[in-house]
Symmetry: C2
Subunit: 233 residues, 2 copies
């Protein structure tokens, strides 16, 4: 499948490589494909073009980089992997018709680092990024998913010592079924997924992030997630 990833940061690159390994064609995207990103204490992230060269060196001929508009046009399915506070601007650089009608997996969170660490959210509670994107593109099949874990766990759930949960939300039942059964379980190897319902439930998973960043801090590793345990009814 041709997958257009909006974004070219660490999440886009790591998930993109995983999708290439699975045999898909992947285009990551950015404003400038030659910009190397400085992530402070976390080092640097290669430019989009460097990522493509590295992937081709690994035999992944289906790797490509382009503008946000290029990736939206390219993808049969789209993944939003930009910083959440920049997502609508990035999507807005694409042709509307290249987004509407497609499955758009939104794995971003509107983290606000401007007020210090750990980050807060730029908006939350009575709204969410997932809903903002769905409202801006009413014909897109937005599925909020994968935003509750580090990309390192996202592509390798077996890195954790037991099975944990991913939590999804979205309005389109068929799109959600595809994301759960194909992308999350089939491609990425997850066993446990919880469907919260429509896209308004993205509020729940995005508002979990302030807890997640703190659990990350206490655990001392981004390889952390939650398992939901309920009494048998």
């Amino acid at each position: 499948m041709k997958i257009g990833i909006i974004g070219s940061g660490q999440v886009a690159q790591t998930l993109g490589e995983k999708l290439l390994e699975l045999g898909h064609e992947v285009m990551v995207s950015s404003r400038d494909p030659d910009t190397v990103k400085d992530r402070g204490d976390w080092g640097t992230t290669p430019s989009a073009n460097q990522w493509v060269a590295a992937q081709k060196g690994k035999g992944h001929a289906g790797a490509a980089a382009g503008s946000f508009a290029d990736a939206a046009r390219f993808g049969e399915t789209l993944i939003n992997a930009t910083m959440g506070v920049a997502s609508l601007a990035a999507l807005g650089a694409a042709e509307r018709g290249d987004i509407e009608g497609k499955i758009l997996v939104d794995l971003s969170n509107p983290l606000d680092f401007s007020r210090g660490m750990p980050p807060s959210l730029a908006f939350c509670n009575t709204e969410s990024l997932g809903e903002r994107i769905q409202a801006e593109y009413p014909g897109a099949k937005v599925v909020k998913a994968l935003n509750t874990v580090s990309v390192l766990v996202m592509v390798a759930p077996q890195a954790l010592p037991e099975e944990t949960d991913l939590i999804v939300a979205g309005n389109d039942a068929d799109a959600k079924k595809w994301v759960i059964d194909e992308l999350i379980k089939g491609w990425l190897g997850w066993k446990r997924v919880i469907d919260l319902g429509d896209i308004t439930n993205a509020r729940g998973t995005e508002m979990y992030l302030p807890l997640w960043v703190r659990l990350f801090g206490v655990a001392g590793t981004p390889l952390v997630n939650i398992k939901v345990v309920a009494a048998q009814s």
Copy 2:
């Protein structure tokens, strides 16, 4: 130990009974100890005085009810079990000197039901109820704890099919140690507790509530909690 519970709703009554069973003296508190609370689809909650009568009928001689001021005066340790949006008003009805200097376990969440279900939060993100209470009573040893589970799980963690986590936050190390080792592990029987750090981390656990209410909805039971799973570092 003499425990003053600010509040007399279902959480106060259920936790209060558990503490009575453990041999403590417990005073619940309300504006009017004869008011039976209508909880809509959830039925009614007995009045504070009805609760006391029922507890004495069970042989729990240490059960009492009083005003918020009475409970604050009575308790060597205090527990805030009011609705979060009403907590500061309830505490404000007590003598300041009956709160300052004591451990105050804050298990409330500032849930806002006025915008429909599931509830949102009345405030969050850059503040929390735990912080507001700590700021109002600088000498109190506020420990945010127990707010991430239903009271049914709080007093009976073994109701879940495996051990799950409670997550606490607070500024006073000794108070937090007492809450974790004595109250949570010793009295209530929990095995797993995560300490996030100072009281600002109450933002994390309070912002988890919008996810919790949705997990409750999907699970179809309030007997639900999370287990935090991290890779061994």
